[in-house]
């Protein structure tokens, strides 16, 4: 990579070599521009490398691949494109430290084994993934003995390092990674006492409850939480308590469960510290910045995709998101080269959500785009039947019946051509709503 130096201008820089970043880079390569992927680890693939279970790529490849197999296909596609002359370069062991707007371009500072290095680029695609909520971010009494891990840390220890974090396990939180790790522990011969979830519903996908817990007779305790951790050097037990309707623990019903390990699966947070430093506000419902359907933020030339934007539950959607960002970033970079680039925002309007929509991307719509946008949203509560309506200035342009909506399952909705044309034509604010139908 000796040709990349401070003075050089790369068309597009992609930060993060997980499925979102690799998809973005492939899209840039396809569009004929040059792209550089920056990845802090030694290998591409992101978190997929440790997700050894199957179920990835059903939509994209029509197969249930494991995480490493999915990543392997991505990297193979990248290598294939490189040998065909695509200007795709990859720099591993490089950590994005900061970025700043520098006139009409972006300037990026990287930390590598050689020190700090700067690169100039017309467009930056952030694909930095998400991180896990930790014990410091939840309400937990007691000491902090060894033996408390996030589900992702345990996943990495077992699947990559070959180290068992413990033998007698309690899982707090019913996120997908927690469910998957409960099964993984049992398969490796450990005992899993149960999965404890403070809410009255599971936060992971129904298929993971069936295949990870029911298959292995792992008890699931809804409306129950861990209130205290016992043990001086190592976890010796936890206290679990049922909670009432307002989430307060009923200490009279507390139970002490001996264990040596507490696994936390209490949520994922998009990784955006670096761009938050730029003063870009984050959407409180997604945890990522507001973007257009091109995944462009309110700072021209800065794109965010994958789990850094919003936590997706299917890697296929992550890749689709990365691809959209890469395609748009190439367009942005090539116009930026020729003239003062009109950002998508010149023609973008905010989208208001209402009813039972909990979170949605994109939050902004570029009305100059010819292609209809695709919405990804989650609902706040379970509904068997609901109606999705999209309107502008009070005029409804789309109405659709949706069935079986569940908060853990993200819904992908592609606007129809006719509705998009109407939406672009009408004046006024744009709104998207989901309302339960038939009192479901």
């Amino acid at each position: 990579m000796s040709d990349v130096c401070g003075d050089e201008l790369v068309d597009v820089v992609v930060v993060g070599g997980g499925p979102a970043g690799v998809s973005a880079a492939l899209a840039v390569g396809d569009a004929g521009a040059e792209v550089l992927i920056i990845e802090r680890e030694d290998r591409l693939g992101g978190v997929l490398k440790q997700c050894i279970h199957d179920g990835f790529g059903v939509l994209q490849y029509g197969e249930r691949l494991t995480g490493p197999e999915y990543a392997h296909r991505h990297v193979a596609a990248l290598k294939c494109r490189q040998t065909q002359g695509g200007q795709i370069r990859v720099m591993t062991g490089a950590y994005l430290h900061s970025l700043r707007r520098d006139g009409t371009r972006w300037s990026i500072d990287l930390i590598t084994s050689q020190g700090i290095q700067s690169i100039g680029t017309a467009a930056v695609v952030m694909a930095t993934g998400c991180r896990e909520r930790t014990d410091r971010q939840i309400y937990l009494h007691g000491d902090r003995p060894a033996g408390i891990f996030t589900a992702g840390q345990a996943q990495r220890l077992i699947n990559i390092d070959g180290v068992m974090p413990g033998r007698n396990v309690v899982v707090l939180g019913s996120g997908d990674i927690g469910l998957i790790m409960a099964r993984r522990f049992v398969l490796e011969g450990a005992r899993v006492q149960g999965v404890y979830e403070i809410q009255s519903t599971v936060s992971g996908l129904a298929r993971n409850v069936a295949q990870c817990l029911e298959d292995w007779n792992i008890p699931l305790h809804l409306g129950t939480t861990v209130t205290e951790v016992h043990g001086r050097n190592r976890v010796e037990a936890v206290t679990v308590c049922p909670v009432d309707g307002s989430g307060l623990p009923d200490h009279n019903a507390a139970e002490r469960i001996p264990c040596d390990t507490l696994i936390l699966s209490v949520g994922l947070i998009p990784e955006n510290d670096i761009i938050a430093d730029l003063g870009l506000p984050l959407d409180s419902s997604t945890g990522g910045p507001a973007v257009t359907q091109d995944r462009e933020t309110q700072l021209p030339g800065l794109y965010v995709c994958g789990n850094a934007l919003t936590v997706y539950d299917l890697v296929d959607y992550v890749s689709e998101c990365g691809q959209a960002a890469g395609t748009a970033a190439t367009r942005g970079a090539t116009t930026a080269r020729s003239a003062a680039a009109p950002s998508a925002h010149a023609s973008a309007g905010p989208v208001e959500t209402s009813g039972d929509i909990g979170q949605m991307v994109p939050q902004l719509l570029d009305l100059a785009a010819d292609q209809p946008p695709v919405f990804f949203f989650r609902v706040k509560r379970a509904m068997d039947k609901a109606t999705l309506t999209i309107s502008r200035g009070g005029v409804q342009v789309e109405s659709r019946r949706l069935t079986y909506l569940r908060p853990p399952e993200m819904i992908r909705y592609e606007l129809r051509e006719r509705a998009w044309a109407a939406l672009r034509r009408n004046p006024g604010p744009i709104s998207v709503a989901v309302e339960a139908a038939d009192g479901s």
């Binding site: 591409l44 279970h53 494991t66 392997h72 990859v90 720099m91 070959g162 298929r207 298959d215």
Partner: protein
């Protein structure tokens, strides 16, 4: 065993019917299926469910102590413990490629294991930052 009810999503075709499987002693009824294949799947889920086995095996290759593997095709859930015990003793000493056979006919029940990632000596698969 008496009465139990199992909810499953049929995975035979993309329609993904929501099945309700009721087991009454040795009598099984499946509902919610749009076609007969769903009934067969429901009965199998209630009696002898099959799953892909995914795990890791030990390696002696520096920098990559575990190699992720999976079964070729699905295996009976009830065989998994036995298979895992046999997999415990596997040690891979040579580099392999994603898709390569790692072990054949485990436990003598015709289960083959393949690698789900490349196994090669430590070092980045790309140019390193410099």
């Amino acid at each position: 065993m008496a009465h139990r009810s199992i909810q499953r999503t049929c995975i035979i075709c993309p329609r993904g019917c929501s099945l309700e499987i009721i087991v009454d002693d040795d009598h099984i009824t499946v509902s919610g299926n749009e076609c007969p294949k769903g009934e067969d799947y429901g009965i199998e889920e209630a009696t002898a469910p099959r799953r892909i086995l995914t795990t890791t095996v030990q390696t002696t290759v520096a920098g990559m102590p575990r190699l992720p593997v999976r079964s070729v095709g699905d295996v009976l859930l009830m065989e998994m413990d036995r298979l895992m015990r046999e997999i415990d003793s596997i040690v891979v000493t040579q580099p392999v490629r994603c898709g390569d056979l790692v072990a054949a006919d485990l436990c003598g029940i015709g289960v083959n294991l393949i690698a789900t990632d490349d196994l090669r000596p430590a070092g980045p698969d790309t140019e390193r930052g410099q």
